[in-house]
Amino acid sequence: MDWGINVLAAEDIAVFRGERLVLHDLSFTVPSGGALVLAGPNGSGKSTLLRLLAGLVRPAAGRVLWDGADALGDLAGHGRRVAYVGHQDAVKPGLTVMENLHFAASASDRPIAAALSALGLQALAELPARMLSAGQKRRLALSRLMLSTAPLWLLDEPTLGLDTGSIERFGTLLAAHRASGGMVVAATHVPLPLPDAAGLRLS
């Protein structure tokens, strides 16, 4: 997948959660192939910032720019540029592992089997998702990234519950995504397999 050169930029972002100002005067840019790692204590606004970049949360002030143009003007269009893995796995326990990916696959026409094997889930394809462990559910959520054609990956604690082998495997997927010009913004408390990523500390 080749997207050409894109730039994601945030300008003087401020966000309220309820009555509380969680983010203010926040600016950064992420170029094609770049990665940004968000760090900070619980409640510092990491997830909020990711949801803002996805267009799910509205900023109280400031702008999110994609190639210099306002990204949040057309939310549906912006959604196509974004692959979001939230802190919830969005896994339906009643469906099989494979069926859980049908919806993500229908938008991109990419093979589900390849996405499953990228995260080492191919042996579990026909299993109901309720049988999965927490780490396996997380891998299932991450395998949606393989089905997405979006250049911008927004990851909220992506390696939560993963074993070391899966983290390594996920690292190669991240590297491949960045090598083809994709961007990654990730919130985390633990080191991620993202070499030379920019860091942003929220307080």
């Binding site: 949801r51 996805a54 267009g55 799910l56 949360v57 509205r58 939310l75 549906a76 269009g77 959604g79 196509r80 974004v82 692959a83 979001y84 939230g86 802190h87 919830q88 796995d89 969005a90 896994v91 339906k92 009643g94 469906l95 069926e99 049908h102 919806f103 993500a104 229908s106 938008a107 949606r144």
Partner: protein
Amino acid sequence: MRVFWAVLSRDLRLSLRHGADTLAVLLFFLVTASLFPLAIGPAPDTLGRIAPGIVWVCALLAALLPLDRLFGADLEDGSLDLLLLSGLPAFGIAAAKAASHWLVTGMPLLLAAGPVAIMLRMPQDGLPTLLLGLLLGSPLLSLFGTMGASIVLGARRGGVLLPLLVLPLITPVLIFGAAAADAATGGLSPRPHLLLLGAMLAAALPLCPLAAGAGLRAAVE
């Protein structure tokens, strides 16, 4: 448009997998309708006279049952975020959800309404009009219901709030739907009532998903 069908097929697959929920709606409809002969007495004159009203009220209440979970499950497990990021505008998601609610709830109720009306000794000449009215009215229940469900989404006690919000909105549908069947059994033309139902459907078809879409955006924020 492709994403619309994907959302619809995903919802239908989920309903199929949780078939007991669909069946519960249908059973609720059948059981509540059969309570009336027990309470009012089996006299065919009385029952036949109020049969259209019974069918309509029971269908309305049965259609409310699954609304609570229409978006609730998706909000809780994070699927709603992914739906909103699928590239389909929020009103498209809401429209697909309304369509799935109608296919899973409205259509089975429509199929069960005929036998229930016959069981209640409704005069035969009013039956086609009753079903035609429900054919127009059941999508309205789904559309208003979807709108109400998205508005109370994320609110505490949303399940209690939902009927309070949806039932007043749906009363015109009930009035004209039951009146159409009454007119047909009384030998009058049901045409004006059915036309009004059609007009309501034509207005609700674009407007309810728009409002529901705005509700969904507000719920994930």
